[in-house]
């Protein structure tokens, strides 16, 4: 029987390398230590951090950052980071993959809902009059003003540094 051909998409791996924390995917030697401590893997067979790392090593873009990717099932618990003997920091690789999915617009719709507040209001939770009333009832001081102007400026796009277009040293 002819051996199955393994195809590695190095282009995708390069892309992942350029996101903060993405480069560490290269260190994975597939030991499964992360799986043993992963709560998401314990509760569903759909999620397995070693397999995510294997797919990253193979550069399987579609499986990792296409629609319905399992990466969103990660609970962000950091157990894998704690346990991994290779300093892969699997959760950080997963978050780097999420960044790529956001660029590709394949992230779940509620991600935007859960995070857009910060860029718009400086807070993750909506500041409402009900909030102020509850604080007053408890005798807490009024909320501080949020420096929105500063926030807007530092969040403005910077073409030169956006993740997948960011050039590494020595590249043309």
């Amino acid at each position: 029987m002819p051996k199955e051909k393994v195809v590695v998409d190095f282009r995708f791996r390069e892309k992942l390398n350029k996101i903060t924390g993405g480069k560490h995917h290269n260190y994975c030697y597939q030991c499964s230590a992360c799986v043993a401590v992963c709560p998401a893997a314990r509760f569903t067979d759909e999620f397995n951090p070693r397999i995510i790392l294997l797919k990253a090593l193979l550069g399987m873009e579609e499986a990792l950052i296409g629609e319905d990717s399992p990466i969103w099932l990660c609970t962000n618990c950091y157990s894998c980071y704690e346990r991994c003997p290779q300093d892969v920091r699997p959760i950080e690789v997963i978050i780097a993959l999420k960044n790529l999915a956001v660029e590709r617009e394949t992230a779940p719709a509620n991600l935007a809902k859960l995070s857009e507040n910060i860029a718009e209001t400086g807070m993750s939770v909506t500041v409402s009059s009900a909030v102020n009333r509850r604080r007053q009832e408890l005798g807490l001081p009024p909320l501080k003003t949020i420096p929105l102007e500063e926030l807007k400026k530092i969040l403005e796009e910077d073409e030169a540094e956006e993740p997948s277009s960011k050039k590494r040293k020595g590249e043309p």
């Binding site: 709560p39 969103w72 860029a119 509850r134 540094e161």
Partner: protein, 290 residues
Amino acid sequence: MMRLIPFWGCMMPLKYPQMELAIRKTLPNLGIELVDVDGFTCCPDPIYFKARNKIKWLTVAARNLAVAEETGIDIITMCSGCISTLKEAQYLLAEDPDLMAQINRRLKRINREYKGKVKVKHAVVMMRDDLGIEAIEKSVKRPLEDIKVAIHYGCHLLKPSQIMRVDDADYPSILDDFVTAIGAIPLDHDEKLLCCGKGCMDDELPLEMTESIFASIEASGADCMGLICPTCFSSFDMGQIMIARQKGKTYNIPVIYIFQLLGLAQGLSAEDIGLHTHRVKADKVLEKIV
């Protein structure tokens, strides 16, 4: 008096102000002066905002750190999410000078710079390391005798220990020691270190995880749950209502923030520390306190 800047974040001041209240009422009794400063934003959150763009996440975190740095006073945080973001940002920026330069280029737009000098600690770590457990003991007026507390450490206070440097992540004791210092009994249970599941973007998984934790706490015979993280709090307080609704099972385990427990031990009333705002009422704990 030790002067420290409280970094409140969003969850506490906006969603669970009773937690802020408990901090403001208990820390001064330990000789801590809280110095509120202007200019902070959300830390930003280490799950959703970070998932969108790590560079922007680091930038907002570095800005918050720079704001504190300018005052020359160190920061304490009371939220596991805030401590996770601020500590990891510090770690990544210290580890990678190129990244530090990239982030500071963004901060330069607003004439700020993060230099890496400000110290950031979780309040419980500051209490253990800088005040000492004895100081907590001394502030107690009414030891919480016979109250059995199932501690929930949550994830971000401890992990990754390479960055957090708080405790042994597999056998932590910091919160057990805290609960012992206020006269209560910390109880072990099978799921003590399981994640609450909140960061998982699925409809069912988080509920299954919290339910495992409730079942384990129920079996342990604890009077209440003692926790440190506002995100975990939402999983467990509101979470119990959801489980009752969706699965028809009522646990009735009061969920109490560790500084609210300290407040009770310092002689404050349930109202003083906002316990009445919780969905699951703490009556069975309060009855035991005389």
